[in-house]
């Protein structure tokens, strides 16, 4: 019942904050959002399950009741976690609270609605990462979009309506494509499944029980469904060339919303890819390894090149997310312990580090009211602490050892280089790894021009140290990044345990 409690408490918190007065909303939201953190940490401490939730492993904190029956299929309220979802839940609760705190300075109107929506989004995210029935999962998946749409569209920058609608329509069309693909699979499975519970479907698919449907034989149907679902999820990740909604959304979104978008929402895409495509249809994934690894490499290099061309600090970080998420795709398709495990770890690592970078850019923006590289220089002189954390975070992004990003990236590189799914994997890996040079290029250039050199700033704002509550979330994220970089086993053990069952059987 802890999962229901977690989601319910967060929903209730959202409601309470909605009706709270604006003056207190930020503090109240932060305080209430501490409850899910405690819950998720308690789950992490108590976690004793093993194996993959979809492939017959034991499921922690499981609830499974029939909700309603529809067209011969039972819809279940079926939630639970395994080693893949639990780290993401911890990430979600911690990052939500930190994002809420980071909103205290920039968000100055309709606060109660803003914080209410943030909590509402958190509750749905927790649902996405815990639901094990497709119907419940899909409801949460779609429900996440609604608060995000309003958070960008109401509190965003000058071009917020365009960005919000683009985000909403793009990801919604993608969801539709994915939905059609999945439902086709369910029809193809026919009577071999009695519900839309993901474990049942995953095991049936891996056991080869898919039949023909809509004039497509089983193999074609599976490939078509795989491609449809891959495209649907790839928009969310985002994988190049389906990424163009992301920079617009980030540039317009206020800092805390960017933090959630990059830190958690992108991981919905990779999480779903892992749960659906790569767990359920490994045979198709390995057959399509060349195009998948190809788009992974393109995402890494192309995303990094785009970041190199930007002048807006936030756009730099936004495009670098495209690059970092490309590594995740590469790790997933490798089908090795380190590859898929590293990809999952990288979801957490990138969540922390991109959150940190967006917040750091936000703190600079709060003070200078600009994010353009050319508009300021030498601000380390006036904001030494923020600059110091910015530098540390940037090195984290560059994959500095003993920070979480290095662990994730190294696991992926190791796992994909030694992968046997295709003879070209070492070359794909080596090509993708060149991203670590380009990322150093754009972040070092950006830091040199904004943080260092003689101080100059044209605006009329006084540049001083940021308030404590702006810097504290940065410090927490930096600390977590280092802790996970020094001791990746805090999560990596349970991740591998959940990932390993994916790597055998199912046509592999």
């Amino acid at each position: 019942m802890i999962i229901e409690a977690l989601i319910a408490v967060t929903f209730l918190a959202a409601l309470v904050v909605f009706v709270a007065p604006d003056e207190y909303a930020g503090r109240l939201a932060a305080a209430l959002s501490a409850l899910p953190i405690l819950g998720s940490l308690w789950m992490w401490a108590q976690y004793d399950a093993s194996g993959n939730a979809l492939l017959g492993g034991s499921i922690a904190f499981e609830t499974d009741v029939v909700w309603l029956t529809l067209g011969g299929l039972d819809l279940h309220w079926f939630v639970g976690v395994d080693g893949i979802s639990l780290p993401l839940i911890v990430l979600t609760t911690i990052l939500s609270t930190l994002a809420i705190v980071s909103a205290w300075t920039p968000i100055t109107d309709r606060e109660s609605q803003f914080y209410g929506l943030m909590l509402f989004m958190e509750a749905n995210l927790l649902g996405v990462f815990t639901a094990l029935d497709f119907f419940a999962w899909f409801v949460f998946w779609e429900a996440v979009l609604v608060p995000m749409y309003f958070l960008i569209g109401v509190w965003g920058g000058p071009n917020r309506r365009y960005a919000a609608i683009k985000f909403f329509v793009y990801t919604n069309v993608a969801s539709l494509v994915m939905f059609i693909g999945f439902i086709a699979l369910v029809f193809g499975l026919g009577d071999s499944v009695s519900s839309m519970r993901l474990p049942e479907i995953a095991q049936a698919l891996r056991a080869g029980e898919l039949g023909a449907f809509a004039g497509l034989d089983a193999a074609t149907l599976k490939t078509v469904a795989f491609v449809a679902m891959f495209l649907g999820f790839a928009v969310k990740v985002p994988v190049a060339p389906l990424h163009t909604w992301l920079p617009d959304a980030h540039v317009e979104a206020p800092t805390p919303v960017s933090v959630m978008l990059a830190g958690v929402l992108l991981k919905m895409g990779t999480y779903a890819l892992l749960r659906f495509n790569f767990t359920m249809m490994p045979d198709v994934a390995t057959a399509l390894v060349v195009p998948i690894a190809g788009v992974a490499v393109i995402s890494v290099i192309y995303g990094a090149m785009l970041a190199l061309a930007q002048q807006d600090l936030k756009r730099i970080v936004a495009y670098s997310s495209v690059s970092s998420m490309g590594y995740v795709i590469l790790g997933l398709v490798a089908y090795t312990t380190y590859g898929v495990g590293g990809a999952t770890f990288q979801m957490i690592a990138h969540g922390l580090i991109s959150g940190l970078m967006f917040m750091a850019v936000g703190v600079i923006y709060n003070t200078t009211h600009t994010r353009m590289v050319g508009d300021m220089s030498g601000i380390a002189d006036r904001m030494p602490l923020t600059a110091g954390i910015f530098v540390a975070g940037a090195f984290g992004y560059m994959g500095l050892p003993l920070m979480a990003g290095f662990a994730g990236e190294f696991f992926i590189f190791k796992g994909s280089f030694e992968s046997t799914v295709h003879a070209g994997m070492p070359l794909f890996t080596a090509a993708a790894m060149f991203g670590i040079v380009i990322v150093a290029g754009y972040l070092l250039f950006a830091m040199q021009r904004t943080l260092f050199g003689p101080f100059s700033f044209d605006g009329e704002y006084e540049i001083t140290n940021a308030p404590f509550h702006d810097v504290a979330p940065l410090a927490v994220l930096l600390l977590l990044t280092i802790v996970l970089g020094v001791a990746p086993d805090l999560f990596f053990g349970m991740i591998q345990d959940a990932v390993n069952p994916i790597l055998t059987g199912g046509g592999l």
Partner: protein
């Protein structure tokens, strides 16, 4: 029973603690945390001395101390400490230089009224700790991780004066250029794991041992469709990318002269004991892996020989004292690479040691001069400092004699052995090495020249400026490190006097004996066997007396120094290098190496990035907006039906219903 070697991790941890202390409370400590750093490095030094003594007693140590990532049905990734003669020697060098640099910093930073000292001492502490962690690493992954941390620290310290425009740019360049090399290194690390399933340096299951076994047909490893030796060469060269970056070898040497923007004690640390030394040390650490690949060895030798010559020529014309030293560092590390490629493992580690002492000395000496000159580094503004700062002068002279390779100073013995080993193996069936040897030999002449040009311009003749007339004094904290290193630069060569051993028959090549101990796969004997079996080094058993080659290189060094004496040891020297004309311009501009690398970054990569950005905005996003535009247009047309007039809706409803009924009727066959 816990032996002294069980405390080896403390050697690494002490400077790390001083980093934390300086970072957290440095601004509340006297001297900005300097004493914490001095105490920590002194502690590490004492432990390192104890370690060396214990290793001299025949003990070694290898233990996994931390499992970084435990693999489930996959390999574990671990941190371990490996203490053998090589790492023990390096520990001693690093901790000694780090300790002296900390002491010197009191004079160079504190006494000069610098701000931001806690940041400085935190950086020094982390730098030392990272390098020590790298030195004791018992596997390639751990080595890579600390290698990168060393890179971070160099960034932080080179860019210490971040309020000026130069240092942040130099720091960025240092990290970026070495990161480019580290990219290849990381691919190499991953390839080593994929090939051997381990990255361990020591034991029968280590990757060098497995590589040897695979070549002897006793083990099989994954070689991705290549012949094993070809694949090992590829992997070795990938790792070498990181070495070339960090050890500032051609073509990735360009960051190092810019790195002079950092405070001078940091330069001493970077050049002598950390960072630049890391690259060469890595090759020595995994020498068993390179020794099985003649191609890799030849490439190492050529990169080294070429770099030695190439950098020495650039050092001829520099105006600033630290610039001369920077190019001399590049050149000297070239010699170490030359030795490693030429089969002179002992020679390379010997030169690594002597160079650490005399280069730290020269940088600290230059620092002392810079204090005296009120932070003017131009040698043409100096002159005549000899009588005003005798301690600096005589120690600097000791270092310069060592650098130039003049008998009997430390550098003579080590450089001599480097060249001798390369020549020996070149004559002994590997004529390709002779080309690399020739470059190294020629560089000796240039080294002698630029070294003494620097000495004479700085210390001899008449003072050429007001500041040089009346230099700023320095205190004990500057003189003490100089004195220690000055003595070492003079006598460190005594540990390995190969020509004297040859002449007298005495067994006094102590460094050879030292490196013969330790783990079976990591000794000089084993490396000789590998070199002989797989690379054909020493196959013919040629015997060559070291006396004649030694005399030749000494002669060249004396000739170069002598020329500098004639030209520059005059009361009012003139710019003789102007006679080189266009060549001087090329040398002064470093063969336009920086230009093409900046062009690669700004002239190629940036336009490509901008083009990608245009493409992304125009084509990729254009398609997205186009699709939405089409739907909006269609939506707009459809919207016109919705007029808001009820009678129109009624008409539409009726017509629609009629149409539907008709359609159903026709399809359903009602009218038949």
């Amino acid at each position: 029973m816990a032996g002294i070697l069980d405390f080896a991790p403390a050697i690494v941890l002490l400077p790390f603690v001083s980093f934390l202390v300086a970072l957290a409370v440095g601004d509340r400590l006297p001297k900005g945390g300097a004493y914490a750093g001095i105490a920590a490095t002194a502690g590490s030094l004492v432990l390192s001395i104890a370690t060396v003594l214990t290793v001299a007693g025949g003990q070694t140590y290898d233990a996994t101390i931390y499992t970084w990532a435990e693999g489930l049905e996959a390999v574990d990734l671990t941190f371990g400490v490996l203490i053998d003669p090589l790492s023990a020697m390096m520990l001693l060098i690093v901790t000694l230089v780090a300790f002296l640099v900390h002491v010197f910093s009191l004079g160079y930073m504190n006494d000069e009224g610098e701000t931001g000292l806690p940041r400085y001492y935190a950086g020094l502490g982390l730098f030392t700790a990272s390098m020590l962690g790298f030195v004791v690493a018992d596997n390639l992954l751990m080595a890579f991780m600390f290698f990168e941390l060393v890179g971070l620290c160099s960034y932080l310290l080179i860019g210490f004066h971040f309020r000026e425009p130069g240092p942040p740019s130099a720091a960025k360049k240092a990290f970026l250029v070495t990161r480019f090399g580290d990219y290849f290194f990381l691919v190499g690390v991953v390839a080593v794991f994929a090939t051997f399933g381990t990255a361990s340096f020591v034991g029968s299951e280590s990757f060098p041992a497995l590589a040897e076994a695979a070549l002897r047909g006793e083990a099989s490893v994954t070689t991705f469709g290549f012949a094993p030796q070809t694949w090992f060469t590829i992997v070795g060269l990938l790792v070498l990318g990181g070495v070339i970056g960090k050890s500032a070898q051609f073509p990735l040497h360009t960051w190092l002269p810019d790195a002079m923007e950092g405070p001078t004690p940091v330069s001493a640390l970077i050049h002598a004991a950390t960072m630049v030394a890391a690259g060469v040390y890595l090759v020595a650490r995994m020498y068993g892996f390179y020794a099985v690949s003649p191609t890799a060895l030849a490439i190492i030798a050529f990169v080294g020989g070429f770099t030695a010559l190439f950098a020495a020529t650039m050092g001829l014309v520099k105006r600033e004292i630290k610039q001369v030293l920077a190019y001399s560092t590049i050149s000297q590390y070239g010699y170490m690479m030359l030795a490693l490629g030429g089969g002179g493992y002992v020679a390379a580690t010997f030169h690594l040691m002597t160079h650490a002492f005399f280069k730290a000395l020269l940088f600290l000496g230059a620092g002392s001069v810079i204090i005296a000159m009120h932070h003017n580094e131009n040698m043409w503004d100096m002159g005549g400092l000899k009588d005003k700062m005798p301690v600096t002068y005589y120690t600097f002279l000791s270092g310069s004699l060592a650098l130039a390779g003049i008998f009997p100073f430390a550098g003579f013995w080590s450089k001599d052995e480097v060249l001798y080993e390369t020549l020996l193996h070149g004559l002994d069936g590997n004529p390709i090495l002779l080309g690399a040897y020739a470059m190294g030999l020629l560089a000796v002449f240039f080294t002698g020249f630029y070294t003494f040009r620097m000495v004479f311009l700085t210390f001899h003749g008449k003072p050429r400026t007001q500041t040089a007339e009346d230099p700023h004094g320095v205190r004990w904290n500057v003189k003490f490190p100089l004195a220690v290193l000055g003595v070492l630069a003079a006598v460190a060569g005594l540990v390995n006097m190969v020509p004297v051993a040859e002449l007298t028959g005495l067994h006094i090549e102590f460094l050879h004996t030292w490196l013969e101990h330790g783990y079976a796969g990591l000794t000089t004997e084993h490396y000789s066997t590998l070199l002989q079996d797989f690379a054909g080094y020493g196959a013919a058993g040629l015997h060559l007396s070291p006396l004649l080659p030694g005399a030749v290189s000494l002669g060249l060094a004396l000739a170069g120094s002598g020329l500098a004496y004639l030209l520059y040891n005059v009361p009012e020297p003139v710019r003789h290098t102007d006679r080189l004309g266009g060549i001087k311009k090329v040398l002064y501009n470093n063969y336009y190496q920086d230009e093409y690398q900046v062009w690669l970054a700004n002239g190629v990569t940036r336009p490509v990035a901008r083009a990608a950005n245009k493409f992304d905005g125009g084509v990729v996003d254009g398609v997205v907006n186009g699709v939405s535009g089409v739907s909006l247009f269609a939506g707009g047309r459809v919207r016109r039906i919705q007029t808001g007039v009820v009678s129109n809706y009624a008409v539409l409803l009726t017509l629609g219903l009629t149409a539907l009924l008709l359609a159903f009727g026709i399809l359903g066959g009602w009218f038949v």
